[in-house]
Symmetry: C2
Amino acid sequence: METRELRYFVAVAEERHFGRAAERLGIAQPPLSRAIAALERRLGARLFERTTREVALTDAGAVLLAEGRAALDAVLAAEQRTRRAAHGPGIVLVAKAGASAELLAKLLDAYAAEPGAVEVDVQLCAVHQAPWLRSGRADVGLLHRPYDDLSGFDTEDLLSEGQSLFVRRGHPLASRTELRTSELADLPLPRWPRPDGGYPDGPGPEVRDLTQLRQLISLDRAIAVLPDSISQGGDDLVGIPVVDAEPVTTLIAWPPHSRSRAVADLVRCATRL
Amino acid sequence: METRELRYFVAVAEERHFGRAAERLGIAQPPLSRAIAALERRLGARLFERTTREVALTDAGAVLLAEGRAALDAVLAAEQRTRRAAHGPGIVLVAKAGASAELLAKLLDAYAAEPGAVEVDVQLCAVHQAPWLRSGRADVGLLHRPYDDLSGFDTEDLLSEGQSLFVRRGHPLASRTELRTSELADLPLPRWPRPDGGYPDGPGPEVRDLTQLRQLISLDRAIAVLPDSISQGGDDLVGIPVVDAEPVTTLIAWPPHSRSRAVADLVRCATRL
DNA sequence: CCGCATTGATACCCCACCGGTATCAGTGCC
DNA sequence: GGCACTGATACCGGTGGGGTATCAATGCGG
């Protein structure tokens, strides 16, 4: 199976429409129909149930969609990491902007002091670091359990912390000393983007990143449950511990094939912090 | 990057010889040279240092070899699992022949009693179950830590046990009641095949699977350190606990993309045993 | 030191296949 | 029943992947 065929299949599976998929792929619809038909013939499996009104995945098609996405990610990652390796010996670390700032600083300092340390390009992204690792844009990342999907990565836990509800100073809840998750059920908590970029439905505000969220809280336009360490001096946020909230673990994650010396050194540094 | 190019690259990287790689791929040498050159041009990375006498991987080439193998595995797995899904709703479980027999039997019974259970095709392989999972020949496997390479899989621990030195009844060590790893250093322990099929060097006998090993021990042609549960009634093996040996954990492992109901049910069954 | 064997690169040719346009055929809807 | 929509089919042209023949560089043996 060629990656071109997989890309074609995934496009049709996601669009559920040959015409739109062809447009997205930058080709005409007939060659796309033929490519899918040829793929089905060689796999000996019907992948779509088509009528002129609807294109639906079969069971086999659903399997190929899940597996094929992962396979395309792996091919893309191979390409990206090779390109970067040819450029120089540096590695790319991805972390969530505004989170684990202190831990990240300590880690970078400790690694820089290591003999044989290479340049570390730090990429701070809004949310969803995992796709950076899966697509090969990054070599190692600081992720958070249970928020990030860790499947397929090797990981080492770095630190665990509780969660608090953060509100503006003066908020009705600001005087409380502790809360329970049962009390949070009806609050308009912020909505984070899904991996596909859309937002779930709900009453809370849509947020893109932690900086934006912190400002919204300061403006009393949002309240949010976040790890304790989010609190930074200088702004008028109040954190009320949610005593029975699931603890959040910051961990370092990397793709398991990576036998790179630099990543191994960085991970070792992190676990010794 | 197309999988054809990746296959070509991996063949050259493994053979370190364009002629032999071309033969292995079933094509002539010139198109292979051109394909690699085109790949290097598009990646902007030199992958091999070639002289007429030697072909060596560059740093970027080493990265592409590691990542590319994983990517090819993922593509192959997508193809295999799709083929199998089209055939019917069953799943394939792979386990090591002769190991965890009791656990496996209980698991299969428990799962069969589950509502919505599908057919489970049990594949017993000699060693190295992990490649079955990586290549898509199996959907779920019983593996052993620390023996198997678990990287890239989701896992759930099932049971942990100590290890014993197994010898024939009457062997000089058979009268001992316990041993320490330090006493085993000079013993001719059996040599298992590496993933590539070759055997490491050493004084012990080469073994292919547990049945063969058990028979060799019965014939006093081998002694081996194995998990306690290997012992089965009826043969003349004696197990002497190695009190400070690393415990062996039997676990159930599956590829993380698998969102299949059947695999999830099986895993849930296993954790409840 | 000079052939010579070895091996990767180059030149050139052919055809398979991918993609394009035109068109057909099945289906739901007004 | 006509019409819009959508996937499949027919046919054609060009790119590029694969083949053979050959060159060029390198190490080795006489």
